[in-house]
């Protein structure tokens, strides 16, 4: 965390936030191209375009050995946690050297080396798992913490209640983040969510709740810094409600025709987290050439990595039978 008044540090940090968001955006734009144009990605991918501020702002508050669990829409979180984008592209393309050996794909992206214990294909399932990771850390006397990110749709699943209650009862070191993009697939979440929503529910289970503009990366980062510090100090779980917007369809295939006309366009024009951070930095005096360079570098990096990933072979066929289990492994089964 930066000292107040330390302008150089602040500026560097703000630029780093932008850079991370640009890299996430570039990664996903390439991933979409790989899916739509190149037909290299066979499964569904769920872009987080428009939501990059959450990933960038929260992950910068964490240590490499802190734990992260995310959702099906987890590319950004994973990259921001420090995962290698080449291994991520390889995973999306189902290739050897993918971060899950090509076994998981986009929806199960994970990199245990940087504490990223997996995206999850079941809405809300990561909430109890994340609470449990924090439980394990606390049992072992570690000062590491866990961050558990989920969408607004997940607050209507039972594990939301069970996981938050669990974390609060055992005062676990976990930051729950509801990355609220206002949509659950094709359904507007508020039409199926009673009461005041995510924050009110968390508060009712005794968790301190902070609500932020999830498209303002500076605000997200500042909130995350404070919350993470309190959690690491042993004060128990907290809840961050970050309001953002899903600029794309639910998957890269989804044209999202169900949305009111102009809604997505308005968000893209007025509320894009990258554009906002660029404007913020411009206001701080950063020159537009520098901003352009950051953008261009991110684009170039990801385009090159996608190419490299596409040139990688598929995993060996027999890995279909490894890492299932030791006892009664299908690789050994005979008769």
């Amino acid at each position: 965390m930066s000292e107040p008044g330390d302008d150089g540090d602040n500026r560097a940090r703000s630029i780093a936030l932008l850079r991370m968001m640009e890299r996430i955006r570039a990664f996903e734009e390439q991933a979409i191209l790989a899916a739509e144009r190149d037909r290299l990605v066979l499964g569904a991918i769920h872009p987080s375009i428009g939501q990059e501020a959450c990933a960038a702002g929260i992950m910068q508050a964490l240590r490499r050995d802190d734990i992260l669990l995310a959702t099906h829409r987890g590319h950004g979180h994973t990259l921001a946690k420090g995962a290698d984008p080449l291994a991520m592209f390889r995973e999306l393309l189902g290739r050897a050297g993918g971060c899950c050996g090509g076994k998981g794909g986009s929806m199960h992206i994970a990199d245990f080396n940087v504490g990223m214990l997996g995206a999850n294909g079941v809405v809300g399932a990561n909430i109890t798992i994340g609470a449990g990771a924090a439980h394990g850390l606390k049992l072992m006397g570690s000062d590491r913490i866990a961050v558990d990110i989920f969408g607004d749709g997940a607050v209507n699943r039972g594990p939301f209640l069970e996981g938050l209650n669990w974390a609060a009862v055992y005062a676990l070191p976990v930051l729950f983040v509801c990355e609220d993009n206002q949509w659950s697939a094709t359904t507007r979440t508020r039409t199926v969510t009673a009461g005041e929503g995510a924050g009110a529910r968390a508060a009712a289970m005794g968790l301190p709740v902070t609500t932020v503009d999830g498209n303002n990366v500076e605000e997200v980062a500042a909130a995350a810094d404070e919350m993470v510090a309190r959690i690491r100090a042993g004060n128990g779980p907290e809840f961050l409600h970050a309001i953002t917007y899903r600029q794309t369809g639910h998957t890269s295939f989804d044209k999202a025709a169900y949305r009111p006309e102009g809604e997505a366009e308005r968000h893209k024009m007025e509320d894009d987290p990258i554009a906002r951070q660029r404007a913020f930095l411009a206001g701080m005096g950063v020159r537009s050439a520098e901003l352009e360079t950051i953008h261009a570098e991110a684009q170039a990096e990801m385009a090159a990595l996608l190419k490299e990933a596409a040139a990688t072979p598929f995993p060996p066929d027999d890995t279909a039978f490894t890492d299932v289990q030791d006892i009664g492994s299908p690789a050994k089964e005979a008769f």
Partner: protein, 321 residues
Amino acid sequence: MAEKMTYVEASREALREAMQADETVWCLGEDLGRGSVFGQYLGLQEAFGPDRVVDTPISEAAIMGAALGAAMVGTRPVVEMRFSDFALCATDELVNQIAKARFMFGGQSRAAMVIRKPTGMWRSSAAQHSQSLESWYTHIPGLVVVCPSTPQDNYSLMKAAIAADDPVVYFEHKNIWGMEGEVDRSLAVEIGKAAIRRVGEDVTIVSWSDTANLAEQAGARLAEEGISAEVIDLRSLWPWDKAAVRASVAKTGRLIVAHESVRVGGFGGEVAATIAEAVPGARIRRLGAPRSLIAYAPNLEDQMRVTVDMIAQAAREMTND
């Protein structure tokens, strides 16, 4: 009489007709107003309104549990689970509550409902969106288990399932939503009656769901080679048409059971064991997925598949010796 329809259209038409005929029939699930993931409900909310085609929260346990309550007071819900994998979020509701509601309360109530569970592998959906768990539900008294493999069956069996006074677990295979076929709306199919897809003398091939289509292809290929396979599509696993399979194996002396689900603990074991008990001396072979997980990479995913080749090869081997 017959119309061309896809598999997804067929069950949608059956549902539409049932909703027209009986206003206690309604459906509930996520995103139904936009047709759900595969278009199974397209146009129904426009036709029947949001009270009968209900957009729900992401609350599988509540979707399933609420359907039971609503069935107990006399409505006939059609429950959409989106991917059969997600239905595991509502297992207590299905197995401990719905399946037991009639018996446990001494026959005071019924749980007439259809629980739709799109199933099976569908290119690179990975371990949590590809499972075939139909065999589980055959083991649960109280449940009926249906696995249609053609547009006609998906039409006729959906109608039968909605008409049934039992809870019917209804597995549609995700890989054949677009499969086209002739559908005769007047054709009724009784749950529990197999379809003999091909008559033969040398070997009986039993299957269901999309694998039945592969078995039929294998049967055609074998015919060219001079091997006469009888291909049976069970269409439902509980009840299943033991009589048809028994009669066939009594004739051919050889049984192959093939399914997409994992071989170990799969329903193929039930079919094989039943025949082993009932037709002593029959030669028996099971094909199913290895006991491993379904990976994302296409070549790894393919390792889990039972293919036309594998079925045909098994038949060749069995008829050779």
